[in-house]
């Protein structure tokens, strides 16, 4: 009964990645091609930029989404459901739509641009800069962190914090010694998910067409120019490997419940 699923998985995942692995070693330099593809200065620069961007986005989303998640997980008030609905909407938005949302916010005819024009006559446009890219990644990451943290905050035992407080602990101490450790598994899995999704995100960068060449964009551009198929294969494998390793590490540290990358 499991056979059809295994067949589909083999035909469209195992075999294709096998092919990718082989193509990666079929360039002019054989297996050394993997090393050369990675050491190419342009590739390396793009890899570093993508790693930095993903790290910054992960930290920022954990802070923002973490606070919102704990808040919404613990408090019930009129409008609570609506807020959760709004905050989780981008979950199924394709990267291109997220990119367009940033253009709507900060593009040439965007909201910020219109407001700044009305206020002091100059248009402020930052959708196509590093800031735009950062905001786009934040946009699609927030729902993922929020959901994980909220679920964890809902089952957090508030009496533990009360006990700590009644024993004289200051709010900061309570947060650092009681709340944070209880949320740690949720934060680790949400962080890994955000990082992995950001590493592989393609649609957002594609729409914003930023000058920052994130790794997926570079792989894609190389692919359309079909310059060097083996280095494209090698870089795709590297990208897949990074996402997979980050997610599995988080899973072994924080337990299951680590959801999907995009």
């Amino acid at each position: 009964m499991i056979l059809p699923a295994v067949l589909v998985f083999s035909a469209f995942f195992i075999i294709p990645f096998g092919v990718l692995l082989r193509v990666g070693a079929q360039g002019a330099y054989g297996i050394a091609g993997y090393w050369l593809a990675l050491m190419n200065p342009e590739h390396l620069e793009s890899l570093v930029a993508t790693l930095v961007l993903s790290t910054v986005v992960t930290v920022a989303t954990l802070c923002l989404g973490g606070v919102c998640g704990v808040f919404l997980g613990r408090n019930r008030f009129p409008g609570h459901g609506l807020m959760v609905s709004i905050l989780t909407l981008p979950l199924a938005f394709p990267g291109v739509v997220v990119g367009f949302m940033i253009i709507m916010l900060a593009g040439r005819q965007g909201l910020v641009s219109d407001i700044s024009l009305a206020l002091h006559g100059g248009r402020i446009v930052f959708a196509y800069s590093a800031w735009g890219l950062f905001l786009g990644y934040l946009y699609f990451s927030i729902p993922r962190v929020l959901l994980t943290v909220m679920a964890s905050a809902e089952i957090l035992d508030a009496s533990l914090e009360e006990a700590a407080r009644s024993l004289g602990a200051k709010p900061a101490r309570v947060f650092l010694d009681v709340t944070l450790p209880a949320l740690k598994p949720a934060l680790i899995s949400a962080g890994a998910l955000t990082f992995a999704t950001s590493m592989g995100a393609f649609g957002t960068a594609f729409t914003l067409a930023t000058r920052i060449n994130v790794l997926p964009m570079m792989i894609y551009t190389d692919f359309t120019l079909s310059t060097d198929l083996s280095s494209i294969a090698a870089l795709s494998l590297l990208l897949g490997l990074i996402s997979w390793v980050v997610l599995s590490l988080a899973r072994s540290v924080a337990g299951s419940g680590v959801a999907a990358a995009g």
Partner: protein, 264 residues
């Protein structure tokens, strides 16, 4: 209970983040209905852009719905039996199989897409058909179906239910359809909603797999953003929202009560 200052600070931040998500959506919906987005609401409202989008892009909308539904059928047919086997089989091999089948969501769609294209590039007819895209979508959504169903299967005590039915003389077919499936319907429904929603919105993988004749909605959206005027892009986004937001809201309603139940 008196609300401490932290409450209001957190509420403020949460409102700000909600605005960050919602305001661009609202602005884009408006721009799709405005006669001229550059002049704003003063230019008046119109359905012109929506009609234009529907006439231009109708095939892509149809293809996306078609692929999403086919994807649902396939993931139901192969996902539920697979989940059943994984839930009933103990031991390392089953866990390993589970891990493997979930791999496609841990790997970026771009990498999977390139691997698929390099593998099936010479299979012209298949490569250029919608079935190639369907294959990608099935691969990417199957883990979600599998996990949703598996979660319910492992929490319901299927084994004793089935033993009970078997001791009353029910054969396997009868047990599977009358005992196993009805007991998993919440998981199946959650999985089904997730599969359809994700398939409708899939871009990274589909962008690599598509051909000029197999453009799905998100793929054509990317085209519209880069080559059409802002109002058309916005109107098309509005059409996409109309399709995807109800699905997302259903999914939220449906998965929320389980999380809430845990607190009580």
């Amino acid at each position: 209970m008196m609300k401490h200052s932290g409450f209001w600070l957190q509420l403020g931040l949460t409102l700000l983040v909600s605005a960050f998500i919602a305001v661009p959506m609202a602005y884009s919906v408006l721009a799709g209905l405005m006669r001229n987005a550059f002049f704003g609401l003063k230019s008046g409202l119109t359905l012109k852009w929506i009609t234009q989008v529907l006439s231009l892009y109708w095939p892509t909308i149809l293809l996306s719905v078609e692929i999403a539904l086919l994807c649902l059928v396939v993931t139901l047919l192969i996902g539920i039996p697979a989940a059943y086997v994984l839930a009933r089989a103990p031991g390392r091999l089953a866990r390993l199989a589970e891990e493997a089948l979930i791999l496609p969501i841990a790997v970026p769609g771009l990498a999977t897409g390139l691997a698929l294209v390099m593998t099936y590039d010479r299979w012209g007819a298949f490569r250029q058909s919608m079935w190639f895209i369907l294959a990608g979508h099935v691969l990417f959504t199957l883990p979600f179906m599998l996990r949703a169903v598996l979660a319910v299967m492992s929490s319901a005590d299927l084994k004793s239910l089935e033993e009970g039915a078997a001791s009353l003389g029910a054969n396997f077919t009868c047990r599977f359809f009358d005992v196993v499936l009805p007991n998993c319907r919440t998981g199946i429904l959650a999985g089904a909603l997730t599969v359809v929603t994700l398939s409708m919105g899939e871009f990274n993988l589909t962008w690599i797999l598509h051909t000029p004749l197999t453009k799905t909605l998100p793929v054509a959206l990317a085209d519209a953003y880069s080559s059409m005027r802002l109002e058309v892009g916005s109107a098309y986004t509005l059409v996409f929202f109309v399709l995807i937001v109800p699905l997302l809201l259903c999914l939220q309603r449906f998965t929320r009560p389980q999380a809430a139940r845990k607190t009580q």
